[in-house]
């Protein structure tokens, strides 16, 4: 029954986010600040992880190909499929649930603990619209981050291929082009938009409705990471069933 209560409260929160909008002149600055905090601030970690995970996928594929009859281009093909279909959209989102999600929960949770949210409400401001809506809009740029992740993952694979001498660059590029289905990119971006919505709202819910003190802000961040990850993996399963089956 508790879970039903939380789902209901989460749904009501989503509705409340779109009510009583904050003045555009104020909202504009909040959106730009959140783009900086959530998107630009994540570029470094996304680039680093994507490049090296792309390399590792390539090395693992190459090392497991001991049959001389299997063409070397398969390395590029496997890297492309892994990175575009799952690693960049899904697993990068789970990583972002830790980075962006914890940031959202702890910043909103601290505002709750220090009565800053009460101050907004006393002034008659819709605190959910003021705090969460800019994050939702900022995370509309999340697919841009995932595109960079896809590109750098594939580049990481290319670098690993070249420096590890697992295949020639030509073989790798041939693999990248092999049986390419453009719909897979669309599928990946549809997932990304769904994950962006979860990344903005679930951590906000845990921060906004938290009770207690500083210790509870830490606990809320942890719980928020767990539930955001669970929601991302579940949505991934549902969308894959719907879009690819």
């Amino acid at each position: 029954m508790n879970y039903l209560h939380y789902i209901g409260a989460y749904a009501l929160m989503i509705i409340e986010i779109f009510k009583k909008p904050t003045k555009w002149s104020v909202m504009k600055k909040l959106i730009l600040k959140d783009i900086d905090d959530l998107i630009i601030g994540s570029l470094g970690i996304v680039a680093f992880i994507s490049f090296f995970v792309g390399s590792v996928v390539t090395i693992q594929t190459a090392l497991n190909m001991d049959n001389p009859l299997v063409p070397k281009s398969l390395i590029g093909f496997a890297t492309r499929q892994s990175v575009i279909l799952e690693f960049a959209p899904t697993f990068m989102s789970v990583i972002m649930a830790g980075k962006v999600g914890s940031f959202i929960t702890s910043s909103i949770g601290t505002m709750r603990v220090t009565e800053q949210i009460d101050a907004l409400e006393v002034m008659g401001i819709n605190a959910l619209n003021y705090l969460v809506f800019p994050k939702l809009i900022a995370l509309l740029l999340y697919p841009f981050l995932i595109s960079i992740s896809m590109f750098l993952g594939i580049m990481g694979g290319l670098a690993a291929c070249y420096f590890g001498e697992f295949a020639t660059i030509n073989d790798y590029v041939t693999g990248l082009k092999e049986d390419f289905i453009p719909y897979h990119i669309i599928y990946a971006f549809i997932k990304t938009f769904g994950f962006a919505f979860l990344l903005a709202t679930i951590p906000s819910y845990h921060g906004f409705y938290m009770k207690g003190g500083a210790l509870d802000v830490g606990k809320a961040s942890t719980v928020s990471f767990v539930w955001t990850s669970v929601a991302i993996i579940t949505l991934n399963f549902i969308l894959t069933q719907i879009l690819l089956s």
């Binding site: 220090t114 009565e115 800053q116």
Partner: protein
């Protein structure tokens, strides 16, 4: 004036406010006092509309809060200034931005008009030159003064303060008390202060409401509190030897 009638508030099975009726008068510093757990903060949050209540009514100049539409509530809230116990300043904004915030949200003033008003109120609370500091760079007393400046910047009709002196040294506490009283008289606003500080009670309590176990146990002023023989009040207010002596001296001096 704020009029409260038969206010009841519960949390689950715990009945916190058990039927409080009182009025808070315009142009006066109205104090809510009482022991921890007496229901002061819940009462204040009900007055502010942060908590819903089960029974009773709160009327702001005849406007009954629970009967207002969302737009009317929003309009009423723009007439309220609030000083929180921990100041509740937005830590990502500078002091000037904090003070400017209500103007940006609720007025159509130009930037220069807003800046003029911010300069005026910061000067009023003796914080000239602190515009670009972050709240984390300000002392506790400065933060309280910024919170007061933010609360009065939009010329509120009602000013609420939750323990404005908590965590301050006695000298700064007196400065904050005097500032609140001066602002109340100067702008003729209805000020409601939730406090534990007996010094505030003696100095600025033009109307005092004493709560005990969710009920109004006594009401009066800083003058009548010396004369009262209500044991519940005297036990609380004169619990320290110093205040007992002060009371004795007051009674002797005034032949009461």
């Amino acid at each position: 004036m704020i009029e409260v009638k038969d206010l009841h508030k519960s949390f689950g099975d715990t009945h916190v406010l058990k039927g409080i009726s009182t009025t808070f008068e315009k142009g006066k510093t109205n104090l809510i006092i009482g022991q921890s757990g007496s229901g002061k903060t819940v009462f204040l949050k009900c007055l502010l509309g942060l908590f819903d209540y089960e029974q009773g009514s709160i009327s702001y100049e005849g406007r009954i809060f629970s009967k207002l539409t969302e737009d009317q509530k929003r309009e009423l809230r723009s007439e309220i200034g609030m000083v929180f116990q921990g100041s509740a300043l937005f830590d990502s904004m500078t002091i000037a931005e904090n003070v400017k915030f209500p103007l940006r949200m609720f007025t159509k003033q130009s930037n220069s008009e807003m800046d003029d008003r911010v300069n005026f109120v910061l000067k009023r609370v003796n914080l000239e030159g602190a515009h670009n500091k972050l709240p984390s760079e300000a002392s506790g007393g400065m933060q309280k003064r910024v919170a007061i400046a933010r609360a009065i910047v939009n010329k509120p009709k009602y000013l609420f303060c939750d323990e404005p002196n908590s965590g301050l040294d006695p000298k700064t506490a007196i400065v904050i008390d005097n500032l609140i009283q001066e602002i109340t008289n100067e702008y003729d606003i209805t000020t409601v202060i939730n406090t534990h500080d007996m010094n505030s009670v003696m100095e600025i309590g033009e109307k005092i409401v004493f709560l005990k176990d969710g009920l109004k146990a006594w009401e009066g002023s800083h003058e009548t509190i010396f004369k009262t023989d209500n044991e519940t009040v005297t036990d609380f207010v004169y619990s320290s030897e110093l205040f007992k002596k002060v009371r004795k001296m007051y009674i002797e001096e005034n032949n009461l």
